[in-house]
């Protein structure tokens, strides 16, 4: 039976069932290694067997070939003839990745014929036979290149060297072959491409879904520069080169971290790649102020390889993330759809009622009553509609979290660390736009925990700790927010070291650094260009990172903070609003402008009289119960056009705000009340004002500005320290 005989439904069924099997296999494989489930081997074997049967029936020969090899190896493991070790798990996980690639090819082209499975199948077979010949499985060795000796000679005559480049593209990237073509163009710019595998024409024409390429180039350029130039191509997973003349010696210079075998998952990609599929999707996120470029190859920066240091270009964390890739489709329960349908039906009734009003003669009084009835009904319906739609947009965090165990496992193995990974709260729901935005930051924080947090086993033992480190990912719902915590029981972060580094980097003076308390010092980590590790690791990036993490989280109105105890571990706390597009807000009037303050930042509304205001440290302060809170007039920050008028000897309205740092009281002219507001971007240039996160259109058509409490507080603190500096200067001069 060939695939031509499969109907569209059958194909869809095959795809979804197979994808489920592959997911199951991956989860079980990670469990297998940790020994979490004793029946894992049998379950994986069953999954592989089912997959094989399905693939054969559907006529997917490549998948069938690979699953057959998989099954043979698993059979040996099941019978105990072959013990499970990390190499085997690596190979099996590699197979999972290639199977995913096959499924992607089937979904796109209806066939898996373009996917290369032979080298991995060989590797599985050789593992089964007990001879691990990973090296032999490398595709296209140079010996196969015709006239190699001649080419080497010719290159030498021209004063060039003959170099072999192996380029691998993130197979989950859209159209990997296009990236290969871009890489090929780069190589052609730098020299003569004398041979490629697959053939150059096939790459140019995108003949098949290639994700790897070997190219032999005669060039006089420095290979490191060529690798750096290749780093500009997005979605590249690894680039290695070697001198073709020394082909017999595979010990080559690796400039981008190369995966040990070809089937490695994208999370093994080094910092040189910044595949960020999620960023394309921010266009529909109202807070995605940077969505404007809108190119498919978004996030193409992060190519900080070979010391080129251009990593920040794309504005995405330099971490290739599988986590970020979410489909453009969403599963919605039929119940939700039915409710939407009913509500829309109700809307139609209201429309008819309204239309009728234009045609019948009614007294003004009757008309008024009828209108009130209809608008009352309408407002109920629209509220329900809004709720239901928001509900439909909610996605459990599980969709994001599910990728992490595998990522942690592979990373721990690469770093030679022992790590136990625990997750909780996967069923917590978040707006899908938020989930898309936080994928990359979470990947970054988890990588960080493994790379910088957890110590090597020997160091842990020496410190009297369990050699196995613990990394926890925890999600929970509290008040009007979702919290996600990434914590480790590693070495912790020394605030003093952070202070030193910040001073050494010229981010602030030694004097300023000393004044910061421990938590403020740790907060310095989020400054652009900050990194505490002396040598740059290829796991957590090259100093590109935490600032981008914070920026990405703040883009969805979230905050990120950290707590750390030296020797005990570090905890990163991400706080996210429940919904992105719609927030509950307090509307206030300041001078001529209406501001909307997200309700989750509002602690309370007070009425304050002159006598309650004190001056301290250059600030106006008010006493609220046992707390002293600085009182700020927006005009102090933004100029007189945004000044609230303070009525002497009267009770003036004051909004107490809670930000990540400390509470702050904001003087306003009036409080208009609570309202749900839809967040809009301010198009273009005025969108980046400190303290303003966006705008919203009110019922009367006017525009309210949304206060960004975190940004505003920061601005206030900045001004405050400036004021104090000025004061001191005055004092000295006086």
């Amino acid at each position: 039976m060939s695939m031509d005989e499969l109907s569209a439904e059958e194909l869809a069924l095959f795809l979804s069932e197979s994808a489920e099997m592959v997911d199951t296999m991956e989860e079980l494989l990670v469990d297998l290694e940790t020994g979490a489930s004793p029946d894992a081997v049998a379950a994986i074997f069953r999954a592989a067997h089912t997959l094989k049967g399905g693939a054969a029936t559907a006529g997917m020969t490549r998948m069938a070939r690979l699953t057959h090899a998989l099954e043979s190896l698993l059979d040996l493991v099941r019978s105990g003839e072959r013990a499970v070790d990390a190499d085997i798990v690596d190979a099996l996980l590699g197979a999972v990745d290639v199977l995913r690639r096959c499924l992607a090819a089937v979904e796109r082209d209806g066939t898996d014929a373009g996917v290369e499975v032979d080298s991995l199948a060989h590797r599985l077979e050789s593992l089964a036979s007990g001879q691990d010949v990973a090296a032999a499985a490398r595709p296209g060795t140079l010996a196969e290149i015709p006239d190699l000796d001649h080419l080497v000679e010719q290159a030498a005559d021209n004063g060039e060297r003959l170099l072999r480049f192996d380029v691998a593209v993130d197979p989950t990237a859209p159209m990997p072959v296009v990236r290969l073509y871009q890489a090929l163009l780069v190589l052609q710019e730098r020299g003569r491409v004398v041979h490629t595998e697959p053939p150059q024409r096939d790459i140019e024409e995108g003949a098949a879904d290639y994700a790897q390429m070997t190219a032999v180039v005669a060039t006089s350029d420095d290979p490191a520069q060529i690798v750096a130039a290749l780093g500009e191509v997005s979605h590249l997973q690894s680039v290695t080169w070697e001198e073709a003349a020394r082909a017999a010696n595979p010990a080559a210079a690796h400039d981008l971290p190369a995966s040990p075998q070809d089937g490695a998952g994208p999370e093994q990609a080094g910092p040189g790649t910044a595949a960020s599929p999620a960023s394309g999707a921010t266009a529909d996120g109202p807070a995605g102020a940077q969505a404007a470029p809108g190119s498919g190859a978004a996030g193409n920066g992060g190519a900080g390889n070979g010391g080129a240091g251009n990593g920040a270009a794309g504005g995405q964390p330099a971490a290739a993330s599988q986590a970020g890739s979410m489909a453009d489709t969403i599963r919605v329960s039929v119940k939700v759809l039915d409710r939407l349908m009913n509500l829309v039906g109700e809307l139609v009734i209201d429309r008819t009622r309204l239309a009728r009003l234009g045609h019948v003669d009614l007294s003004t009084q009757d008309l008024k009553e009828e209108l009130e009835l209809v608008t009352g009904h309408l407002s109920r319906i629209t509220t329900d509609l809004q709720d239901t739609i928001m509900q439909a947009r909610m996605v459990p965090l599980e969709t994001l979290f599910r990728k992490f165990p595998r990522m942690v496992r592979d990373l721990a193995r690469r770093l030679n660390k022992q790590v136990r990974f625990a997750m909780s709260g996967e069923d917590t729901e978040l707006d899908r736009a938020v989930i898309e935005q936080i994928g990359d930051p979470l990947v970054h924080l988890i990588r960080n925990a493994l790379d910088h947090g957890i110590e090597p086993p020997a160091a842990r033992r020496a410190a009297g700790k369990d050699p196995e480190g613990l990394v926890q990912l925890k999600a929970y719902h509290q008040e009007n927010s979702i919290f996600i915590e990434v914590s480790d029981d590693g070495r912790g972060i020394d605030p003093n070291k952070v202070r030193q580094v910040a001073v050494a980097k010229g981010l602030l003076t030694a004097d300023q650094a000393q004044k910061l308390d421990a938590s403020e010092a740790l907060d310095l980590l989020f400054l652009p260009g900050f990194t505490t590790t002396d040598q740059v690791s290829d796991v957590s990036g090259r100093g590109v990172g935490l600032d981008v993490v914070r920026k990405n989280i703040e883009r969805v109105n979230g905050t990120v903070t950290l707590e750390s105890e030296l020797g005990r571990g570090t905890r990163w706390i991400v706080r996210l609003p429940l919904t992105l597009a719609i927030v509950q807000a307090m509307l206030v009037r300041v001078h001529e402008t209406t501001f909307a303050i997200p309700l989750q930042s509002v602690v309370e509304i007070l009425r304050v009289e002159d006598r309650q205001v004190r001056w301290a440290n250059g600030w106006q302060m008010i006493h609220v119960r046992d707390q002293v809170i600085p009182l700020v007039n927006p005009g102090d920050v933004w100029g007189t056009r945004f000044s609230a008028t303070w009525q002497p000897s009267q009770a003036n309205p004051v909004v107490v705000l809670q930000s990540a740092a400390a509470p702050l009281a904001l003087a306003v002219d009036g409080v208009l009340g609570e309202q749900e507001i839809v967040i809009k971007n301010i198009e273009g240039m005025v969108g980046q004002v400190a303290g303003i996160s966006g705008a919203s259109i009110l019922g009367d058509g006017s525009v309210a500005l949304i206060l960004d409490v975190t940004g505003f507080t920061k601005e206030v603190r900045r001004l405050g320290s400036q004021l104090r500096r000025d004061d001191r200067r005055h004092e000295r001069s006086a």
């Binding site: 602030l508 933004w638 273009g684 980046q688 303290g691 966006g694 259109i697 500005l705 900045r718």
Partner: protein, 168 residues
């Protein structure tokens, strides 16, 4: 834009939206103009350059509005009923531009357009692509891209200042 100019020189016909600003006539290419609306309530935005009047609600989108008089450092005009917001589109950016009045849509041959001369107009010639000479009046052809890009440069400068402040 460059292509437009090339065509203009070649003698093609061009359509301009002509508006009044401080007693002089200005024209912008009709392709850049999305619509012309009355001036209604503008919400001020803090920390923006003086000439940014604020933002308005344009059928559900929030777009910035600039005052062209202020942009060109002209004295403020009377806030009369003739004032209009010309909504222009430049690439991704939609922007409202406040002018004293919109007078007409003008169709003219490309060869009626002369290169800008600092002796004829008071405005900085960097914003001008040419001057159209009609029987009894002159229309100054504005390059809105440059008006805006000069502004973006300002914006960048401002940002840099801010960064410098934070670092300092």
């Amino acid at each position: 834009m460059a292509a437009d100019q090339a065509r203009a020189v070649a003698g093609d016909q061009r359509q301009l939206v002509v508006f009044l600003l401080a007693g002089e006539l200005y024209g912008v290419d009709i392709h850049q103009v999305r619509e012309i609306i009355r001036v209604h309530e503008v919400t001020r935005v803090p920390r923006t350059p003086d000439f940014v009047e604020g933002v308005i609600n344009l059928r559900g989108s929030v777009i910035p509005v600039i005052d062209l008089r202020k942009r060109f450092l002209m004295p403020p005009g009377a806030e009369d009923a003739d004032r209009r917001i010309v909504v222009v589109e430049m690439g991704e950016q939609t922007l409202g531009v406040i002018v004293d009045a919109v007078s007409e849509v003008l169709r003219l041959e490309g060869d009626r357009i002369e290169p800008p001369s600092p002796y004829i107009v008071s405005l900085d010639t960097q914003y001008i692509t040419g001057i159209a000479r009609l029987e009894d009046r002159l229309v100054i052809l504005l390059d809105l891209n440059r008006v805006l890009h000069a502004h973006e440069r300002d914006e960048l400068d401002r940002l840099e200042e801010r960064v410098a402040d934070v670092d300092g």
